[in-house]
């Protein structure tokens, strides 16, 4: 097991009817900005619940944060935060809204030239403007971690940021929100959380027995609830397990003491930046090729995953590992998620080279758990994903 540090101070308030507790979590006299996305919260009742819970606070609303939160739009919000002396933010949405609010949390207190530096120079935020979240879309785990990914349309870039100052102070997780989520986004949520676990697990054995079992627990739970949630998102118990699994998949716990990969995300982000493909679907496109390409380095963990998660008991390590990749592809397909780039765009030629070039430009010369995956490897993997 590797040495590690772990601290996660976010307060989780989980369950039915918990949104009404919101007011108790925000400091009295706070000047609140409530941020949300495209307005789905106005049709599913969450907007009403949140507004009621915020009665007594001075609230400024900012809506229209899109999937893959855009720098330009967030800069508009930042202007209002400064003009109105906002002291607390409330993100009401999924990972995109919460990530956008994290950027604003950092940017509001940033004293450098331009907040873009926070992303470009990967500046760690030690202290941000405080914020809480009401989660409306289980997927990214952003509700209980301190990381964010921000997109800049004009340069077709998608960059990560974070720091210990960017944990939500609280997050309200009411599984009843799941029933109004469209099928496409439910599928994305399951695939996103599933791949988050794989990025922290599908490396090489390092004797971290408990972390491995926790990762496998999340994968098994997602496999178990996926068909239920896709069939009936009003199934409360399935929704609750879905929601909690997504949070636990990326709240830092399972990555402690183990090597992590994250190359699937690095390549996937480029596909979103270039083609606008849903984040989760880019992961489903890249992951199988990535595991085939890095088969020798990952086969022991692939086989452990095959045995424990997919119950494949017979065959050599190689055979079980290969079968495990196929099971993963089948699982994505069972969610209605395609796993080839050509399923999403006919303009895929040249993508692999472009991804490779971008990695080279950014100096990303060694990705993955061994820091040895070069831009040329990424090029081959993306090509295998066509």
């Amino acid at each position: 097991m590797l040495n590690f540090e772990f601290k996660n101070p976010t307060k989780i308030i989980f369950g039915k009817g918990q949104i009404e507790k919101l007011g108790n979590e925000i400091p009295e006299n706070a000047k609140v900005m409530m941020l949300y996305g495209g307005g789905s919260i106005k049709t599913n009742g969450i907007y009403e619940q949140v507004k009621n819970a915020l009665s007594g606070f001075e609230v400024v609303e900012f809506s229209g944060i899109p999937a893959n939160p855009e720098y330009e739009i967030l800069m508009d919000a930042l202007k209002i935060i400064k003009e109105k002396n906002i002291t607390y933010m409330l993100a009401v949405g999924g990972g995109s809204v919460i990530d956008g609010v994290k950027f604003l949390s950092a940017a509001a207190l940033y004293t450098g030239d331009t907040p873009w530096d926070i992303l470009k120079n990967a500046i760690k935020t030690e202290k941000g403007l405080p914020f809480g979240t009401v989660l409306t879309l289980p997927a990214t785990g952003s509700e209980m971690n301190s990381g964010a990914v921000i997109t800049r349309k004009e340069t077709q870039e998608k960059l990560a940021m974070g720091g210990p100052g960017l944990f939500p102070e609280f997050s309200i997780l009411d599984p009843e929100v799941v029933k109004s989520i469209p099928e496409r986004q439910l599928a994305n949520g399951v695939a996103d959380a599933y791949t988050h676990v794989l990025e922290q697990y599908m490396t090489y054995p390092i004797g971290a027995l408990l972390q491995d079992r926790f990762s496998e627990s999340i994968l098994q739970t997602l496999i178990e609830i996926a068909p239920k949630i896709m069939k009936d998102p009003a199934d409360y118990d399935a929704a609750a397990n879905f929601m909690w699994s997504c949070t636990m998949a990326l709240n830092g716990l399972i990555q402690k003491g183990v090597p992590t990969d994250w190359a699937v995300h690095a390549m996937g982000h480029e596909l979103t930046a270039l083609f606008g493909i849903d984040h989760a679907r880019t992961l489903a496109v890249i992951a199988p090729s990535h595991y085939h390409y890095n088969f020798e380095a990952k086969k022991e963990k692939l086989a452990q995953y095959g045995k424990r998660v997919w119950n494949i008991q017979s065959g050599s390590t190689e055979e079980i590992a290969k079968a495990a990749i196929e099971k993963t592809v089948d699982f994505f397909h069972s969610l209605g998620i395609d796993t080839k780039l050509s399923d999403y765009t006919s303009a895929y030629e040249g993508t692999a080279e472009k991804v490779s070039e971008r990695f080279t430009e950014r100096g990303w010369l060694g990705l993955g758990e061994h820091k040895t995956l070069a831009p040329a490897d990424a090029e081959k993997i993306v090509k295998m994903s066509y």
Copy 2:
């Protein structure tokens, strides 16, 4: 799944050579009281490491906190804390020392008549004197939770306390300490953590799929590492998994969203108070009888545990559930831990009645996950454990 709230702000610093980071975690100018037990830290090198890491701080030492931390001794420490205006405490030890420091954390800021009230009236501590820990004995999980159990010799009582103000600010977990722990205490640590998980898991199914799997993960890991750690406590990977499993067994995570039992602890504490039997061993005495006595209510979870943790695949629910209890007893025996009260004392007659009387006196009329286990039931369970 039940509604829940979860917040655990303790910073974990885990791994080899981490004790030297201590100084960074304590506020500058803090007046530190360093508390420890019987002096084993002076022979295994931990005392030296801690003292070196504390150079530059004003430090008062308080040693001699015994297993089952005693109220009278802690009151001596409290006097010094007040006389010397201590602003920060550092617990160097296992659960007893850490629990003792939690009591002091609460007592130092308590403004009522006598700190005994905190225990007697189960007063929740919202804010305590800040403290950190250096864990020397994996077992209780106290290093990452906000609860404590304190003993009062003169009245033969053992009572619980806690509150959100009693989380350690940080805990340093260096698995290298495990190699100098005597066999008896290693066995106790494994059995203690194992039973902690059972108390939060062996109830009835409530559709909390992920929590169940996390609990099973900890049990499986403890089963896997127990023979390794008993044979060779210098096996670093086994020690690291042992240590992290003990912490995760009682840091609050696996109990969220599920019913919990804790009747085994309630009865076990009485056996420690009456006979001085090691805490973990009292749990191993009570648990099997408790599960047999409450078999009908617990058989579904017992069978799930039998299948998933012990891989018992054939038989009816009842048969698998019964076999799972036997496997649990065998596991305790494999650690060298006896599971009958008569193995520890010949003066066991009358114990069951005494436990029952004490529960009645304290108004503990309904324990367990259904709050229906009456003193008369406890009497029968303790008698079954003779």
